[in-house]
């Protein structure tokens, strides 16, 4: 299902010929150089995450490949096996570059899964809220209000304290923290869209409710949802990294960037900055690139600013 926004709203480009609304959005998106850079960088990061195990110089979690004598080497130093550690090694002789490649992968996957799940759950609740109204609406929205009045980290802490640690628990915490944003966004847009004529037409055609919700209402709620989702991926990644840094996130067997940074914390005081520094830079670049994309999408998809 493509977000064929222009088409459904009857805003088809008259003289554009082959130009699709999506294509027009893309052209507009890349008019900003900063957004272009953000997109390129993020695409590169996603590619690196995808290929991580293939391009990494070593498998940082295969103990056979680690040499403890190579521990805490500075960036650019050459190890006992003749391998160059571009970004140095940690206390166990792990190549930081490889560890980061694996870590980015974990961070992105956890961020993407939790955001996608929260998006589906939140949108569903938002649609239900808007379409059925009344009791269901106030129940869902009250729950969202209460939850949003508490800081995300507090909610996550409560859940981790309650559920325990582990990848699945972190993902559950991230979904819980996020769903309300989508629910609110979708409900807000859906309430406006619901009163438009195309929905009335669909209802008059006696189409099944499910079909109206999913094929008519939902696609028109997508633009603001896309913007929220982009920003939320960045926030989910940050929150996961924060939890992992606190030792409450992902286990040591699936180290994300947050855990790598936490590992380096102990060595920071003795001036061995690289164990924390480089994973942090990787995290920062990832988040900045996503935020740049989100910022631009907000401008491009904002109907008030649409030309």
């Amino acid at each position: 299902m493509t977000p064929d926004v222009g088409d459904l709203d009857g805003r088809v480009d008259a003289g554009g010929g082959r130009e699709t609304p999506l294509g027009r959005l893309a052209v507009e998106f890349f008019e900003s150089r900063l957004a272009g850079i953000g997109f390129t960088v993020f695409a590169a990061i996603a590619l690196v995450a995808l290929l991580g195990p293939v391009i990494a110089p070593q498998n940082p979690y295969d103990l056979a490949q680690l040499d403890i004598l190579d521990g805490r080497l500075e960036p650019l130093s050459v190890g006992s096996n003749g391998m160059t550690y571009w970004l140095g090694t940690d206390d166990q002789g792990r190549d930081m570059l490889s560890a980061i490649l694996y870590g980015v992968r974990t961070s992105l996957v956890v961020g993407a899964i939790s955001t996608a799940a929260a998006l589906v759950l939140g949108s569903a609740l938002g649609l239900i809220s808007a379409f059925f109204g009344d009791r269901i609406d106030s129940l869902i929205m009250r729950a969202a209000d209460i939850q949003l009045s508490f800081p995300a980290i507090l909610i996550a802490l409560i859940l981790i304290a309650v559920l325990g640690k582990g990848v699945d628990k972190v993902i559950i915490a991230l979904i819980t923290v996020q769903w309300a944003y989508y629910a609110r966004t979708v409900r807000g847009t859906a309430l406006v869209e619901r009163r438009k004529e195309y929905i009335e037409a669909a209802v008059s055609l006696a189409l099944p409710k499910m079909r109206i919700l999913l094929r008519h209402l939902l696609p028109n709620c997508l633009p603001p949802l896309v913007v929220v989702a982009t920003v939320q991926i960045a926030r989910a990644i940050t929150l996961e990294a924060t939890l992992s840094f606190l030792g409450l996130g992902l286990p040591i067997t699936e180290p994300s960037l947050g855990l790598l940074i936490a590992n380096g914390f102990d060595y920071l005081m003795s001036g061995r900055y690289w164990i924390s520094f480089f994973p942090g830079i990787a995290l920062l670049i990832t988040i900045v690139s996503i935020n740049l994309i989100g910022d631009r999408l907000r401008d491009v998809l904002n109907p008030r600013l649409r030309r």
């Binding site: 800081p151 304290a161 309650v162």
Partner: protein, 325 residues
């Protein structure tokens, strides 16, 4: 206003009950604290005695009821680890956390407001654009990593600021705080900056957007036409109007500062309640976890309530009391 207050108080109370149930039931479900507190070679009798002493042998609903009754008396159980009242342990550490959050809030206002004004008045100048780029960075930088980098720069490399602890405290007007000593300020500088970073970025954006919007308003044109100087128009007329959303957001953010202090306190070994909760979660010290969560939830709920009330006082246009049904 009275109707609104009562309604709002009831709402906060319901939220508290729901949260307490959630926290209690949830925490009840995790691990068995006995396993951690008693040596593995303890006899069955010893284990039973300890279980009874901690009240862990009673059914869950009874434990919750006892918990609620005690909570109303300000007693949220005794810490398994410290063997002291949990609330007491947390209250001991509350001042340190509040101190940190207050200084962070102060920094947010002192740094964020002027920068936001500047960026709003000169949106196309290099300086304005730099401020905005900085604010995007402020949003994107992971707080904990910035904390580490601050330590690396100011404590390890330059050796100008201490990297951990709260420093010397002194008493003034019956309040013991490190803010009354020079050493205390040196200690609080880095953690508070770290904690304030996201909020500074937020305030910059809010103020900038507010200023840009306000400058197009008729009241600004009128004030200018009246012959008032630009300085007065901005500092008095514009500021008054844009401060309403800013105060609301700042008020709400205070709760999140206290919650996010967990991270900052861990990094800077700040002896507040945030560091305590992390240790307690790792040790499964249930009463302390519950007490921390309940107190923070209470604090956040209280702050939200106060902000709502403050909002109606500051802005007479907002009618909080809903029309009578």
């Amino acid at each position: 206003m009275t109707v609104f207050l009562i309604r709002r108080l009831m709402q906060s109370f319901v939220v508290l009950i729901i949260m307490s149930l959630l926290v209690f039931v949830g925490v009840f479900a995790i691990g068995n604290p006995i396993d951690i507190l008693i040596s593995p070679d303890a006899t069955q009798q010893e284990i039973e005695r300890a279980t009874a002493a901690l009240g862990l042998d009673k059914p869950m609903w009874e434990q919750y009821w006892i918990f609620l009754v005690n909570a109303a008396h300000g007693d949220l159980g005794r810490s398994f680890v410290f063997n002291e009242p949990a609330v007491g342990i947390i209250l001991q550490r509350l001042p340190a956390t509040l101190e940190l959050a207050l200084v962070a809030m102060l920094l947010t206002v002192v740094i964020g407001v002027p920068l936001g004004l500047w960026a709003g008045l000169k949106p196309d100048a290099f300086s304005g654009k730099t401020i905005m780029a900085g604010s995007i960075l402020g949003f994107s930088l992971p707080t904990f990593w910035v904390g580490l980098m601050l330590i690396m720069l100011f404590a390890v490399e330059l050796k100008v600021l201490p990297s951990n602890g709260r420093g010397a405290t002194a008493e003034f007007l019956f309040i013991r705080s490190s803010l009354f000593t020079r050493d205390g300020w040196a200690h609080v500088a880095m953690p508070a900056t770290n904690l304030a970073l996201v909020n500074i970025a937020l305030v910059i954006r809010l103020i900038r957007a507010g200023v840009r919007e306000a400058l197009l308003m008729d009241y600004v044109k009128f004030a200018r036409a009246k012959g008032l100087g630009m300085r007065r128009v901005i500092l008095v007329h514009v500021m008054k109007n844009i401060m309403i959303p800013v105060i609301t957001v700042l008020g709400l953010e205070f709760g999140s500062l206290i919650a996010f202090a967990v991270v900052t306190e861990t990094i800077f070994a700040w002896p507040g309640m945030g560091k305590l909760i992390i240790d307690s979660i790792n040790l499964l010290d249930r009463p302390v976890i519950v007490a921390y969560l309940m107190l923070t939830v209470l604090l956040v709920t209280l702050i939200n309530l106060l902000v709502d009330i403050a909002y109606s006082v500051i802005d007479p246009r907002i009618r909080l009391a809903e029309p009578e049904a």
